[in-house]
Amino acid sequence: MSGLVIITFLPIIAGCILALAPLPNDTVRKASLAVTLAILAISIPLMWNFGEAYRAVSPEVSEAANSPMPFVYETNVKWIETFNINFHIGVDGLSMPFVFLTAFLCPLCILASWGIGEKVRGYFALFLLLEGGMIGTFVALDLFLFYVFWELMLLPMYFLIGIWGGPRKEYAAIKFFLYTLFGSIFLFIAMLVLYWKTGTFSLVELPGHEGLGDLKWWVQIALFLGLYVAFAIKIPAFPFHTWLPDAHVEAPTAISVILAGILLKMGTYAIFRISFPIFPVATAWFCTPLAVLAVINIVYGALCAMAQTDFKKLVAYSSISHMGFVMLGMAVYKEEAMQGAVFQMFNHGCITAMLFLLVGVIYDRAHHRDLAGFGGLVKPMPLYGGYAAFAFFAALGLPGLSGFISESLVFLGAFQEQKLLACIGTLGILLGAAYMLWTYQRVFMGPVNEKYKDYKDMNKIEIASLLPLAVMVLVLGIFPFIFLDMLAPTVSNLLAHLHVGREEYEAMRTAAEQVAMNLHP
C-alpha cells in the first residue's frame, strides 16, 4: 500500500476511532498528536524521494506539451465503474508540497489546541477527519474523488468553527459552509459536462482530451468561469472573500491556522490542477482579468487590513492580500511567476499559521484581540515579541525569509507580462509593511500597558508550535531551491500545456479579427 493511501486514510480512521472510543481527554490529545506525527513521518520520505521519482517519469521539456502530465506514487482502483470513476490518487510537484504542508501543520495545530477543554474527543476526532479531507483533496487525481474530499472538509470545519469558535461562531460557521457549498455547485456542473464530453473524470486524462476539442469556446469559457467562482471562493478572491474575516475571527486558533494555512491554498491549487490544464484556451482568455483581480486582491486586502482593529481580522485580511500574489503569479505565463505562486502558497501557509498562532497566544491571556488595547508587550513577553517580530517581518516580505522569495518571483514573472499591474501590485508590499509594522508598534512597542505587565511569556507548547514554522520560513528563505527544484518540472509541464492553449487562443482571436475586418472593411 502506498504511503499516500496511508496518510489519506489514517487520519480518517483514527478520527472515527477517537470519536467512538471513550478515552480520557489527555490520552485523546496525545493519541491525535501521535497520529499527526505519524502522518508527518510518512510524508517526509515521500517528500524526500519525490524529486527523483518525478524526474524519472517526467517527459523532456520539448515534449511536455504533447505528453500527459506525469504523477508519482499513484494508486488507481476502480470505484464506480458505470461512470468510470476511480479511486485514483497520486502527486506531482504541485500537490506534494501541500500534502507535506498539511502533514507539517497538523501536529502544530494539535499542539495549539492542547488547551481545548470542552468536548475534547469530538474536537480531535473532527480535526483528524479534517486532515484526512485535506490530504485527500491534494492527492486526488479523479475529479469526482476530488469533489468528494473537497466537500468532505466542510463538515468537520463547520463543527470545529461552530462548536469551539468565538461569540459569533454559528454565524461564521454557516457562512463558511454556505459560501463553499455555493461555489461547488459550479464545480459540480462543470464536472458533469466534462464527463459527458469525455467519459472520464481522470485529471490525468482530461487535459488535452480529444473529447474537449469540439467544446465550443463559449462553453469552455463558461465552464472555466464557473470553476473559477467555485475556487475563488476558497482562495478567497475579491469579491467572494467576505466569509473569510468572519470565519477566521470566530474560529479557534488551530482552525484559523488550518483555514489560512491549507484551506485557502485549495482554491489556487484547484485552479492549477483543474482549470488550467483542462481549459488552456479559456485560461489564455482569462489571464488578464485574473491578473486584475489579483491586484485588486492585493491592494484591497491590504487596505482593508489596515483599517481593522481586531488583531485576527487584520491577519485575515492580510491573507486576502497575500493570496492576491498567488493569483498574480498564476495569471502570467512565466515560469518564475508560477513557481513563485506555488511557493507563495506554501510560504503563506507557514507564515500566516505563525501569525494566527501568535494571535492565539495573546488571546489566551488577554481574552480580547483589540489592537488598541495592547501596548509594550515586548517587555513582559520578550520571547513572544521576538517570534512576533519574526513572523511579522516574514509576512511583510522580508528578504532572507521565504515569503520574500515567492513574492519577488511572482513579481519578476508578472512584470514581464503585465508591467502596469505588477507595479500597482508592488503597492501591496508597501501597504503590507505599513499595516504589519503599525500593528507591531501598537501591540508590542510603546509604553507597557499596566494591565498586561505581569503576563507570562510563551510556554513550551506554544514555542513548540511556532519554532518549526519559523525554522521552515527561514530555511526556505535562504535555500528556496529545495522547494523550487521539486516544483520546477511540474510547472514546466503545465506551462508547456498552457502555452499551446495560448497559441490556439491567439490564433482564434486573430481569425476573429480577420472576420471582423472583412465584415467592416
Partner: protein, 781 residues
C-alpha cells in the same frame, strides 16, 4: 604602504592600551582583554587559513551573523556579561579579514598588480542558487550568487567593518547597563552581516536582500528603546519610508530582470556593453531611476529624507554606525556600483536630487538645537553631496567623500554620544556649553571632525569635498545650464562650516547653561575614548594623497569599463578622469537621446569633443578654481559662525536674526513642512481610502441590502443582539429574502381544505390555459 601602517599602528595602539589596562586592573584579565587577544590571534589564523577570497568574504559576513544568532538565543540569560564579547570577537575577526582583503588591494595598487584593477577578475566566487529557463536561449540558467571583490569592495569593507568595530567598542561603554544589552549587540551583528554582504555581493538580488536587511536592522536599532513611543514611531517611519524607495528599487529590478534575465551585475554590464537596450532609452532611464529610488530611500535624499532625523531616536552609537557612516551611504554605493547602468537623463536627475538635498538639509541644520539632529541634517547634506557627485560623474570623488565622511561623521556622532553620555542624556544644545574643559578628548576629537567636515585644508574632508566641487564645476563649465549644481554645492559647503562650528561653539564654549549637568559631566571609559581617537586620526589623514587614500581612490576606484581610458589618461592627468567617464556615458547615450532637446545635446557634443582634445585644461582649471572657492567659503562660514556663536567675539545675535527672517526661519525651522505635507496628503489619503474600503467591504460587498439585521434572528440564534452594521451581509441577505418569501409562500398552507382544493383547481386551470396560449402562439401557428 601608508594605510597598512596606519591600521597596524591603530591595532598596536589598541593592544598596548589593553596591556596597560591588564596590568592595572588586576590579576584577572577582563573580557575585553580576552576579546582583543582572540581577535588578534584569530585574525592571524583565519587570514592564513582562509586563503581564497571567497572564504574570506564568507567569513567576513557570516561571523557577525553567527554572533547575531548566538546572542539572540543565548545572550540574555546564558552568557557572561551579556555576550558582548562574542559580538566583539565576530566583528573583530571580520575586520581582520576585511583588512586582509584591503591589504591585498592596496598591495596590488602599490605594486601595480592588475588583480584588483581588472574588476572582471573580481567576480571570484559563485554559488548556483535557483534556476529558471531563460526565454531567450531556452536554457535553464541558474542564478549565480557570488562576491565581487574589487577596490571599491575592499575600501567599503574596510569602512564598514572598521567603523562597526569601533562602534562596538564605543557601545561597550555607552550602552553599559541598558536593558537588553545583549540584544543590542545582536542587532549590531545582523546589521554588520547585511551591510558587509551588501558590499560584497555581485548579484543585484542579493544586494536587494541585504538592502532590506539593513533596513530591518535599522528598524530594530532605532526602535531599540522599544517602550518609548517616539522610538517605535521613528522606527516604523524609517522602515516604511525606506520601503517606498525600495518599491522603486524593486521595479528597477523587475526591468533589469525583464531585459537581462539575470541579476548578476557583471552579466548586466556585459549585456549593456554589447548594446542591449540600446534601442529602448526610456526603459533604460526608468530602470536607472527605479534603482536610484532605492538609493533615495536608503540615503535619505529628498523627498524621502524625512526618516533620517527621526532615526536619531536610536542609541547614539547606532546613529554613528548606521545613520551616518555606513547604511545611509549604501545608496551612494548602489549608484556607484551600478554606474554603467544609468544613462544621462538618470544622472541628471540624480545630480539635481543630490544637490537639492545637500542645500536643503544644510539650511535646516542651522536652525536645529538637538545636537544629534544637527548632525543628522548634516549627514543628509553630505549624502546629497555624494549623490550629486555621482550625478555629475565625479565617481571616485563621491566614493572618496563617502569614505572620509564615514570616518569624520562617525567621529562626530560618537563625540556627540560622548557629550550626551557626559551630560546624562541631554541632547539639547541650548542646555550645553563650556564642556571643552570637562571633556578634553571629546572636545579635541570633535573639533577634528568638524574641521574635516567643514573642508579645512589638510583634513580629509577638504580633499574629498574639493574633488566633488571640482567635478561639479567641470560639469558647469562644460554645460553652463547646470552650473547651478556647483553654486548650490558651494553654498552648502559654506553653510556646513557655519552650522558645524555653531555646534562646537554652543556645546563646548561659553558658560555652561545647565550648571548641574555641567558639574557632573565626565569623560567616558576608555572603550569610548579609543574609538574617538582612532577615528580622529582617520578623519585627519585618510584624505591625504600619499599617506591616506587619496591616491588609491583616484587611480583604483573607477567606474567599471573605464579602466582602459583611465589607464592611458591618468599617467598624464592623475587626478582627473571623471569627465572622461561622464563624457563616455554621454557618448553612448548621445544617439538615442533626444528628449532632452537641444540644451542637452550641446554639452554631450562638447564633452565628446573635449574628451578628444582639451579636457585636460578644463579639469585643471576646475580643480584650481574649486579648491580656492571651497577654502574661501569654508573660512567665511567658520568666521561667521564664530561671530555669531562664540561668546568671546560675538557680534551677531542669532535670535534677532531668526526674528528678522520671520516666516523664512519658521519654514526652515519646521523642515520645510515636508512631514506635515505628507501627513496631510499621503497619510490622510491612505486613511480615508482604507476606511472607505473597509466600510465598503462590510456594507456593499458583504451586504447588498441594508437593514438586513433581522436575519440575525436566524443566523445568530439569539436574536439581533449583534451590531446590525456588522451583520448585514450578502449571505444573510439571501437568507433573509428566502426567509421572507418562505413565510409568504408558506401562507398558501392555510390549513383549510377548501382552500387547498381551490388552489389545485386554480393551478390546473392556469396550466391548461397557459398551455393553450403557448400552443396557439408557437405550435398551432
Amino acid at each position: 604602504m601608508s594605510p597598512t601602517l596606519l591600521f597596524l599602528s591603530g591595532l598596536i595602539l589598541l593592544g598596548a592600551y589593553c596591556a596597560y589596562r591588564l596590568t592595572t586592573a588586576g590579576a584577572k584579565p577582563s573580557p575585553s582583554q580576552w576579546v582583543t587577544g582572540i581577535v588578534l590571534l584569530g585574525g592571524l589564523i583565519l587570514d592564513n587559513l582562509a586563503t581564497g577570497m571567497a572564504t574570506k568574504g564568507l567569513l567576513i559576513c557570516l561571523l557577525p551573523l553567527l554572533s547575531f544568532w548566538i546572542l539572540m538565543f543565548f545572550g540574555r540569560n546564558h552568557l557572561p556579561s551579556g555576550g558582548d564579547w562574542i559580538a566583539m570577537i565576530a566583528i573583530g575577526l571580520s575586520l581582520c579579514l576585511s583588512y586582509s582583503i584591503y591589504h591585498q588591494a592596496i598591495g596590488a595598487y602599490e605594486s601595480g598588480d592588475e588583480f584588483f584593477y581588472h574588476q572582471s577578475e573580481g567576480n571570484i566566487a559563485s554559488f548556483e542558487w535557483i534556476a529558471f529557463t531563460n526565454p531567450d536561449t531556452g536554457e535553464r540558467t541558474p542564478w549565480k550568487l557570488g562576491f565581487w571583490i574589487d577596490s571599491l569592495t575592499a575600501i567599503m569593507l574596510m569602512v564598514v567593518a572598521g567603523i562597526s568595530f569601533l562602534v562596538h567598542l564605543f557601545s561597550l561603554g555607552y550602552m553599559k547597563g541598558e536593558e537588553n544589552y545583549s540584544r543590542y549587540f545582536g542587532y549590531l551583528g545582523i546589521f554588520s552581516f547585511s551591510m558587509l554582504l551588501l558590499v560584497l555581493t555581485d548579484n543585484l538580488f542579493v544586494l536587494y536582500i541585504c538592502w532590506e536587511l539593513v533596513g530591518v536592522s535599522s528598524f530594530l536599532l532605532i526602535g531599540f528603546f522599544i517602550n518609548k513611543d517616539s522610538a517605535a514611531a521613528a522606527a516604523k517611519k524609517a522602515f516604511l519610508t525606506n520601503r517606498v524607495g525600495d518599491l522603486g528599487f524593486a521595479i528597477g529590478l523587475f526591468i533589469v530582470y525583464n531585459n537581462f534575465h539575470t541579476f548578476s551585475i557583471r552579466e548586466i554590464f556585459d549585456a549593456l556593453a554589447n548594446g542591449a537596450m540600446a534601442d529602448s532609452p526610456w526603459t533604460l532611464t526608468f530602470m536607472g531611476l527605479g534603482l536610484f529610488c532605492g538609493a533615495v530611500g536608503k540615503s535619505a535624499q529628498f523627498p524621502l529624507h524625512i526618516w533620517l532625523p527621526d532615526a536619531m531616536e536610536g542609541p547614539t552609537p547606532v546613529s554613528a554606525l548606521i545613520h551616518a557612516a555606513t547604511m545611509v551611504a549604501a545608496g551612494v554605493y548602489l549608484v556607484a556600483r551600478l554606474f554603467p547602468v544609468f544613462n544621462d537623463t538618470a544622472f541628471l536627475v540624480i545630480a539635481y536630487i543630490g544637490t537639492f538635498t545637500a542645500i536643503m538639509a544644510a539650511t535646516i541644520a542651522i536652525t536645529q538645537f538637538d545636537i544629534k539632529r544637527v548632525l543628522a541634517y548634516s549627514t543628509l547634506s553630505q549624502l546629497g553631496y555624494m549623490v550629486a557627485a555621482l550625478g555629475v560623474g565625479a565617481y571616485s570623488a563621491a566614493l572618496f567623500h563617502l569614505t572620509t565622511h564615514a570616518f569624520f561623521k562617525a567621529l562626530l556622532f560618537l563625540c556627540s554620544g560622548s557629550v550626551i553620555h557626559a551630560l546624562h542624556h541631554e541632547q539639547d544644545m541650548r542646555n550645553m556649553g563650556g564642556l571643552a574643559g570637562k571633556t578634553k578628548v571629546t572636545f579635541i576629537t570633535m573639533l577634528v571632525g568638524t574641521l574635516a567636515i567643514s573642508g579645512v585644508p589638510f583634513f580629509s574632508g577638504f580633499y574629498s569635498k574639493d574633488k566633488i566641487l571640482a567635478g561639479a564645476l567641470e560639469m558647469g563649465m562644460i554645460n553652463p545650464h547646470h552650473a547651478i549644481i556647483f553654486i548650490a554645492l558651494l553654498l552648502a559647503a559654506g553653510i556646513t562650516a557655519f552650522y558645524m562650528f555653531r555646534l562646537i561653539f554652543m556645546t563646548f564654549t561659553g558658560k555652561p547653561r545647565d550648571r548641574h549637568a555641567w558639574e557632573h559631566a565626565h569623560e567616558g571609559p576608555w572603550t569610548m575614548q579609543v574609538p574617538l581617537v582612532v577615528l580622529a586620526i582617520l578623519a585627519i589623514c585618510s584624505g591625504w594623497t600619499h599617506l591616506g587614500l587619496g591616491g588609491f581612490f583616484q587611480e583604483r576606484v573607477v567606474p567599471w569599463g573605464t579602466e582602459a581610458q583611465v589607464a592611458t589618461h591618468h599617467a598624464d592627468a592623475p587626478t582627473l578622469f571623471t569627465t572622461a567617464a561622464f563624457a563616455q556615458e554621454e557618448g553612448t547615450a548621445v544617439e538615442e537621446h533626444s528628449a532632452h532637446g537641444e540644451a542637452h545635446d550641446e554639452p554631450v557634443a562638447n564633452a565628446a569633443a573635449m574628451h578628444e582634445e582639451g579636457h585636460h585644461d578644463v579639469q585643471h582649471t576646475a580643480h584650481v578654481v574649486a579648491m580656492i572657492l571651497s577654502i574661501l567659503v569654508a573660512t567665511s562660514g567658520i568666521i561667521l559662525s564664530a561671530l555669531t556663536y562664540w561668546e568671546r567675539i560675538r557680534v551677531i545675535d542669532p535670535a534677532k536674526c531668526a526674528r528678522a527672517m520671520g516666516p523664512v526661519y519658521d519654514l526652515v525651522y519646521n523642515k520645510y513642512y515636508v512631514d506635515e505635507f505628507y501627513a496631510r496628503t499621503f497619510y490622510r489619503g491612505l486613511e480615508i481610502v482604507r476606511n472607505v474600503l473597509a466600510r465598503f467591504d462590510l456594507r456593499i460587498i458583504d451586504g447588498i441590502v441594508n437593514g438586513a439585521g433581522r436575519v440575525t434572528v436566524f443566523t445568530s440564534g439569539k436574536s439581533g443582539r449583534f451590531d446590525l452594521r456588522v451583520v448585514d451581509r450578502i449571505v444573510d441577505w439571501i437568507a433573509e429574502v428566502c426567509q421572507h418569501y418562505g413565510q409568504r409562500i408558506r401562507r398558501v398552507e392555510s390549513g383549510v381544505i377548501q382552500d387547498y382544493a381551490l388552489k389545485v383547481g386554480g393551478a390546473f386551470g392556469t396550466m391548461v390555459i397557459l398551455w393553450m396560449i403557448v400552443r396557439s402562439f408557437f405550435i398551432g401557428a
